[in-house]
Amino acid sequence: MKEPSLRQALALLRVMMLIRRFEEKCAELYSAEKIRGFLHLYVGEEAVAVGVCAALEPDDAVVATYREHGHALARGVAAGPILAEMYGKLEGCCRGRGGSMHLFDASRRFYGGNAIVGGGLPIAVGLALADRMQGRAGVTACFFGEGAVAEGEFHESMNLAALWRLPVLFCCENNLYAMGTALARSESQLDLCLKAASYGMPAWPVDGMDVLAVEAATRQAALAARAGGGPVFLELRTYRFRAHSMFDPELYRERSEVERWKERDPIRALVERLRCEGALDDAALAELERGCDEEIARAVEFAEAGTLEPVSELTRFVTSDRSAA
């Protein structure tokens, strides 16, 4: 690897580590009942959000799912407001109205947390349409799981984006299970790229455990979409190391399968690679870990110190504030 690539790889490693630590902290805080509702952790899938977001520009848009803490962090939303959101605090990125499944940050064009499977895809098509109609060069990256492929909204959106040649990157996070339903138990056609290709768009399988491969594929896809080539489908093959949510006893998969995938841990893989390149030693790794720990500790402090939105504000933003207009 060349020097700039090494620097970038280290930066990607740091974000992946931050996400991993953040998710581990969330699990702990959930057990401590600081966080309630549904909590879906991204452990094991970090390379996908980090690789894709690294290839995007600030003016691009991101639409994500309900398992989107990692995407928000990778898009640059600070850990403090994300955690405060899960605490239900006013200082949260959505004033505590959305919680874990509904993180948004308009300033980063992060149209994040959609908890209806497939529901974010039409919105991504519209964001791309708006960019195109206003002559902007932006692309919209839309994340969804392989479970969404069974939804009508997936097919409607793929068709519309391809028909209108819109700059959408359809980022399918194939972690093999829709909650507990294995792909083979829900799809008649297991080749997801074949489905996408049937809409006349390029469709590539990508090793979703390799952040550099994800980044490179996304960069190439974004270049094509930005140039007017229409949407691209990326099947990012990954695996969720932890349960679907905090209520999932994991009856649907073998422990040995999880262990096999853990051997391909995207963080460990990148650490090994950087060690081989001589770009990372024990001290540097410890330094990275310490930095992440500190950032998470500050986020917890921020969330703990947060305040509750007054109940008198309950109905605020059901519709826009008109008084200011």
Partner: protein, 331 residues
Amino acid sequence: MSEARAELTYRDALREALREALLRDPRVFLMGEDVGAYGGCFAVSRGLLAEFGPERIRDTPLSESAFVGAGIGAALGGMRPIVEIMTVNFSLLALDQIVNNAATLLHMSGGQLAIPLVIRMTTGAGRQLAAQHSHSLEGWFAHVPGLRILTPATLEDARGMLWAALEDPDPVLMFEHNGLYNLRGTLPAEPVAVDIERAALRRPGRDLTLVTYGGTLPKTLAAAEQLAQEGIDAEVIDLRCLRPLDAETLLASVARTHRALVVDEGWRSGSLSAEIAARIQEEIFYELDAPVARVCSAEVPMPYAQHLEAAALPQVEGIVAAARRTVTSRA
């Protein structure tokens, strides 16, 4: 001083509203099934493709969820989309986008994501289109916080409500009753701004208040004329906006007349008419001289046969009879 007036139909007025919006604001565009080459299922957008081109008059695939959701995304992205859905029955295919996204995103994002989207659709029965093209489900949408629900029932509103809806920073659903498209009349040649906050008093009267909106407004006004011949002086309120309801105008009228009859083409159970009756009873129960009455559609899927369809819908005779009973009964 006489102002120039043009003769036109409700359909023409809607088309003029679209033209004016497209001319006034480059961010406005129309998309939906057959809005372009076909000219709109109900011919509302005929001629607009030739005038504004395919970028701004966009024919979509039969993908209600995708193109309504694309409208939401485009609105988030800085455009001012007008999405046409052929009928309210088809809008059910886009219910996820309307209810889970359009209505929620502003509140759920803590005020970050406003969605200035207008969705137009046809509603109502009377053209023998049977049970998958004829229902009046606008009351369902009026159940949902975050949406504004408009029901233009006059030429003025058909012409004026669209621009007001586009100026609203939040999602607006406009319901055009299919029985109104051929309504004919005159309008000032220049567009006139209309208020979308308030209900309208369409006919003043002393003896009872007839509350209605949309497709049943002409029937209700006809009933009021018939009642006048019998010596019953009915006031007619056109709600115009089903959410948020202008309770003030409604309640002020009923407080004056002391009797109310709600006319709604929707079904009776769990309905908008039930909401209106409840509001009246919650707020001004002691003003009432008679129970609040309702004329609604029969609780059946809308049948095709003309005589059965007519029997299922509110009709002038039924409104007159119910009004007569309300005026003679005592609370």
